[in-house]
Symmetry: C2
Subunit: 348 residues, 2 copies
């Protein structure tokens, strides 16, 4: 079965998705009877394209790899007027809109507006954008449900490492006592370097920046804001809570010293930046803070930029999944994974 | 939607399943629109019961807890002639047969015969029995496919910790480079005790036996036969291989000494009994053997009776899932998990 896909935003994640679709089209057809047609792209910087019959992904990728604009696809030297995202969503005949613009965790815009437009015009939505998911998940999910559409957000937490779909399928029937994870690869990398390579915080941060794991302004990672957004999303999706980021107790890693880390190590403990959430009666207790874990904790062994999440469940007890938390292909895959989930449901 | 279920075998796993269904019927109805009716049970030791309208699970469980026969359900002191499994499968009107008899890894019987009978009479099959899965998976799966039926085996590897359903849904689209895991809790417990509590092999085995983790004759666990059966199942399901247990290179943990384990520890390594499989051209390389893992390996941190599996994937790289590998409720849950997966597919 074929699905028509429109991309709103075509940066790293969009390119990752296109590369996967290009490389694996035969495999996806053969194994899952899945064919993707990219029928629309709108990117404010790179231009737009609307091709109802679906475009040649290989040709588009070679333009993108040469740093050219998307509308060069219509022909060398030609340019086309930008079809703005909202117009593109309305106009195109996509089955699924992949919302891949930048995250604004304060407002959730412009992504939330794009998602609403897509749901209003009868299109399923998949996104790895934390803004809409952290701020408006319940509202958007309700809109989707009312219109018999899917709104899926696998990539918002741990990139393509399955978290939401794991709970939805492989762990179905379990109730959650607690969810606890290492959801930020940058801070986990810094803590790993401070412990194993004996760096101080400033050195480790500098190395993370050099390797592209940390931004020039590392605040969102090191002060815990990124992990807060993710624990809010996990809470609202898995515990049906109504949290926003301000409800979460937050402490970053900037005041942790190498001395504290080494003292913990000597006692058989390891510092990790832990995001956790659980129901306590009618309330939800959610927090992000550095914690001294015993080495027997499954999260204590997660090193470098890896992410991991432990579900504590009424039937299965603790189940932990570990994998990549970022990356072009990994986050591109999160979008494919959600699209395949929609495809499997529509097929039946 | 209601599913009618027949249990063939009603030992630990069957009781675990019944306890879950009893405790969580409201939750399953509300969250998944799932209702289970147990319409038939046949257990060679405990007797049989055939109740087309579905039985009162609570009442049955109290009989089982008192050590009474299943046919006492018809009334105190009454007995009924045993309806043999094959007759019961034919006679009952179950949608799904849960095959829960004992594992015979040499012949796969009598379970394989029961499964074939169920598939021939139009019933889906779920099982945690390693015999049929290790010896006849391809044949049984083909039979199921041809009859438009499901044959699911989540509980054969890592009890209810999702492995097959994880690959089927949350990791869909990935191709496997290698699968590698700690699939036997008994040997992992013994190795953990030898390393952390400085026991020798005989002491650690004795403790495992005392705690009920190891059998009086521990051969199947400590010589690696149990892990071999599981890696065969993983190979045949995930890599579409045609292995049988004799194709797997096998080495147990009985010749490992505490000295070797402590020497490895001093070098920053840890011994684990690793089951692994991968395609190498047209061949499959599968093995079970003790390996010295660097502590950075996600499997190195798996302690005690826990199990874990690492998928090495073309898109996502390494994804590791860790959880229980055995237990009454955990294996009972594996059966529920497969039944819920069937339910979700039939509902649409």
């Amino acid at each position: 079965m074929e699905l028509k896909i429109g991309l709103i935003g075509c940066g790293t994640v969009g390119t990752g998705l296109l590369e996967i679709l290009e490389k694996k089209s035969d495999y996806l057809k053969e194994q899952y009877d899945f064919e993707a047609q990219i029928v629309a792209i709108s990117d404010r910087l790179k231009g737009s394209i609307l091709i109802p019959e679906g475009l040649d992904i290989k040709r588009l990728l070679s333009l993108l790899n040469e740093g050219k604009r998307i509308d060069q696809y219509y022909g060398e030297g030609k340019t086309a007027e930008l079809i703005e995202p909202l117009d593109m969503i309305e106009k195109c005949e996509a089955d699924v809109i992949a919302e891949l613009t930048y995250t604004d965790i304060e407002t959730g815009e412009p992504a939330t507006g794009y998602i609403k437009k897509a749901l209003r015009t009868g299109k399923h939505v998949v996104t790895s954008n934390k803004g809409p998911a952290a701020l408006y998940y319940s509202e958007l999910r309700k809109m989707a449900d009312q219109n018999n559409l899917f709104f899926r957000i696998e990539g918002t937490v741990m990139s393509g490492t399955p978290v939401f779909s794991l709970f939805e399928t492989g762990l179905a029937g379990n109730e959650i006592r607690e969810v606890k994870g290492i959801l930020n690869g940058t801070t986990n990398f810094i803590l790993t370097k401070m412990e194993l390579d004996n760096m101080d915080y400033a050195e480790a941060l500098k190395l993370a920046q050099k390797l592209g794991y940390a931004e020039a302004d590392p605040t969102a990672d090191v002060e815990g804001y990124d992990a807060v957004a993710k624990i809010v999303i996990l809470t609202n999706v898995l515990l049906e809570g109504g949290l926003t980021p301000v409800n979460v107790r937050r402490e970053g890693i900037t005041s942790l010293t190498r001395e504290q880390i080494l003292a913990a190590k000597a006692q058989g403990f390891r510092y990790k930046l832990i995001a956790q959430t659980r129901k306590a009666g009618d309330n939800i207790e959610a927090s992000v803070s550095p914690q001294k874990l015993p080495l027997s904790d499954p999260l204590a062994g997660i090193m470098g930029t890896q992410n991991a999440l432990t579900f504590d469940l009424d039937l299965m007890g603790k189940v932990t999944i570990q994998g990549a938390g970022a990356g072009k292909i990994e986050t591109g895959y999160s979008i494919l994974s959600d699209i395949l989930a929609i495809h499997q449901r529509l097929k039946r």
